[in-house]
Symmetry: C3
Subunit: 330 residues, 3 copies
């Protein structure tokens, strides 16, 4: 009755990146995770019988340019399971998960970034000003698939003595995946994301349609932060419109336009991303990505590459960046 | 001749804990290791022929609420093999081990805590004021089982130039395990455990008897610390009396009374722990634990839960705590 | 077509070390990596078809006396893949690797140290004053074996904005391995290795000949550092001459004489190393190593053992050190 499996898995993705900021210096370097985030993980599922299953998932990021461990996005002081560390109970009712992982709100909407939230070409509108990618101390519930519909909800304890709402995260998503059409909506509220803000709230919507020859994908997102002590909310609108298309038996081209508008800053930012992935196998690919970022007026958005310091441009300055690399999964 | 095996193993245990200190704040949160310590490890044994075997054991703790690594009990800066990192030579003579691990003195006596030295229900008399759970830089010897008798001795180098006794740990245990009866005795001396003490010494005794319907277990322990510069020794007596009983095919109830008496503090502490474990399989269980801690007069003992800050009560104040969780081993 | 393998591998090596510095204190302790560096790693190769292969290699050091992780040589804050973290593409053309690893210059020449660059008996002339063992952010190319000839080249990005030469590493090696004869040459230039130096350059040559009854091995190396602001170069010459011989079916004796001469210091250092390795299997061995280090005049070279602080001797003072241990590979 108790069948089980434990899987060791991971990705090592490395590339060479060049970045140039208008009016600034250029920089070259070896970068990580240009096509998929470098990681090492251990996961398993146990069949408990009667349709019930238990599972665990431990996964940490790796900065393979230097060999250091890295937490969820930020560099960590040693290998840690900060990408995901959960234990689950699964059944016909869906899945209950305890631990740290990507939020459903982020995960569901960011899935419509055709650059997969990695490298210089990705949409940079997530994770800004206290909106989390991942949350610790969460109790989560995910529905089973129901004719293509699915939903998830995350509750993250603030763990503050005497004030259970301080630092609390609540978010969720609903999605529909059926045939060529996919739609997802995510919303969240993070209390006390920083000393400056009482509250961070975001709402995102994404969709894709696979025409076969090309697949179209897009997302829009709005984030509002409530300042401590009142006053105008900090607001950001961002959007991404992308397309992917197979080229021959092993290739895929990608292109995306990304838009960022922080209301308190004069000017918007526009990003154009172009990419090509050449699959050597299901697990291994060569890739190239080019990104152009245009800041208007006072805006100072920046591309970023894992493992290389790319200076944030001065207000209104542009950036060009190029990565060529290899991704190997195991 | 050289048969061998390498095993990847671990536990992910997560729960929701509520704790309330009299006259203080309550706190809620996601906690780890309520039923068994969350961990990841690698171990193996090689058959060298002629009855000789070599083995290794690398095991580190995981704080799965946040994904960080954690050393032996305390939070670490990244995943480390601080639970155990040893290499062994085994044969008819027993086992010689080099490295870091639980001491025999702690391991043998703490085995009679029916809450398994984890979670809010555990006996908190170990690991206080310089008495170690684990020691680094050890050379250890464990006898083979001899008609139920077994013994172990640990020598931990102080590694201090010019003074080989400074920081040195010496401890050992003897035990007897046969049929329903189990008895264990452990004693230790840790030199220079802190700036305040020249020496820490402890003696513990535990026993259990399995009546079938219920199993009774208990332990008593005394610790004496010699202050630097002389004066009265710091002394603590502690004890635990517990019972476990199977409930149906898959359940087990646990109850324990724990007693703590620090001689230099006016007043004692009493702890009552109640628990239920429901096994979904050999590897997976749901559990609930309730603990009530009563401090008398000036005493300030506290329950603790891995991954949640529970404030130490003011003198004489009580605590109530409850954890409900899931443990999954792989 | 896509055959693949993922291998979990490692070594746990522990011993007891005694060291005594003339005119100073003696120290005892449990040490790591006396015969081979303790480590844990994950590696794999995927056959891509058409003679092409992809591979990854993630490997970190372990300080098993205390369970901490350790980077390339130095203690790290948690387990990290600092020994090697690379992704490779391999074919008839050789191998292209991206990431962090040992440099070809170091690896090729140090291979002729009969004590394998571990423990108190090793040649200590490498890794001094900014000459790296390992380099991050590298693009490397290794030739296939060609009638015993092989070569490698490493380019390590400095990753400095506006100055692509700052911090850059360039090095390479050529080698010949055929029958009893093996020869290797390595050279390197590390820009800006420290605040004191603009440049570090080294050239090393090693060779060995296997006579069957004994194997003779030796190396010579010169390093030159260019000071910031000009002035005389810092120079070091070092050499090693060693011999290994099988003893019976399972044993091997080793002996080496090492020589160190830092030009700016009055006096040279001489080191005599003796060792015996008794193989219990291919993976497991008992070993003993003795080292005597003689500093002349003002020279202050020192033996070192992983996991034990051995004081650097005062000028002209000698050291004696002894390690007895066990190495177990998996």
């Amino acid at each position: 009755m108790a069948q089980s499996s434990v899987t060791l898995f991971g990705i090592v993705d490395a590339g060479v990146t060049y970045a140039k900021t208008s009016g600034g210096d250029s920089v070259y370097g070896l970068t990580n995770s240009g096509n998929a985030t470098s990681r090492l993980g251990f996961r398993g599922v146990e069949d408990l019988g009667g349709g019930l299953k238990a599972g665990f998932w431990l996964e940490g990021a790796i900065q393979n340019d230097s060999g250091t461990g890295a937490g969820g996005g930020a560099a960590g002081p040693g290998f840690e399971f900060k990408r995901r560390s959960t234990v689950s109970l699964m059944g016909n009712f869906g899945e209950v998960r305890l631990g740290r992982e990507l939020t459903a709100a982020y995960n569901t909407v960011s899935a419509y970034d055709v650059f997969g939230q990695v490298g210089i070409g990705q949409h940079f509108g997530f994770g800004v000003n206290g909106s989390p990618f991942r949350v610790s101390n969460m109790v989560s519930y995910y529905t089973p698939g129901m004719s293509g519909f699915k939903a998830g909800i995350n509750y993250g304890f603030g763990e503050t003595a005497g004030d259970s709402s301080f630092g609390r995260y609540i978010g969720g998503s609903v999605g529909y995946d059926n045939g060529p059409l996919s739609v997802g909506l995510g919303l969240e509220q993070q209390n006390d994301p920083s000393a400056a803000f009482d509250k961070e709230q975001s709402l995102g919507l994404g969709a894709s349609y696979n025409f076969g020859v090309v697949k179209l994908a897009g997302l829009v997102r709005q984030q509002r932060n409530t300042p401590v002590g009142g006053g105008d909310k900090w607001k950001m609108n961002s959007a991404s419109l992308g397309v992917t298309a197979p080229v021959g038996a092993a290739g895929e081209v990608r292109a995306a336009y990304n838009y960022y508008d922080v209301k308190s800053v004069d000017g918007k930012a526009h990003q154009l991303s172009l990419g090509y992935v050449h699959n050597l196998s299901k697990r291994t690919a060569l890739y190239g990505t080019y990104a152009f970022l245009k800041n208007q007026k006072s805006e100072t958005f920046s591309v970023s590459a894992n493992g290389l310091g790319i200076a944030t441009p001065a207000g209104g300055k542009n950036q060009n960046a190029l990565t060529v690399g290899i991704r190997h999964a195991f």
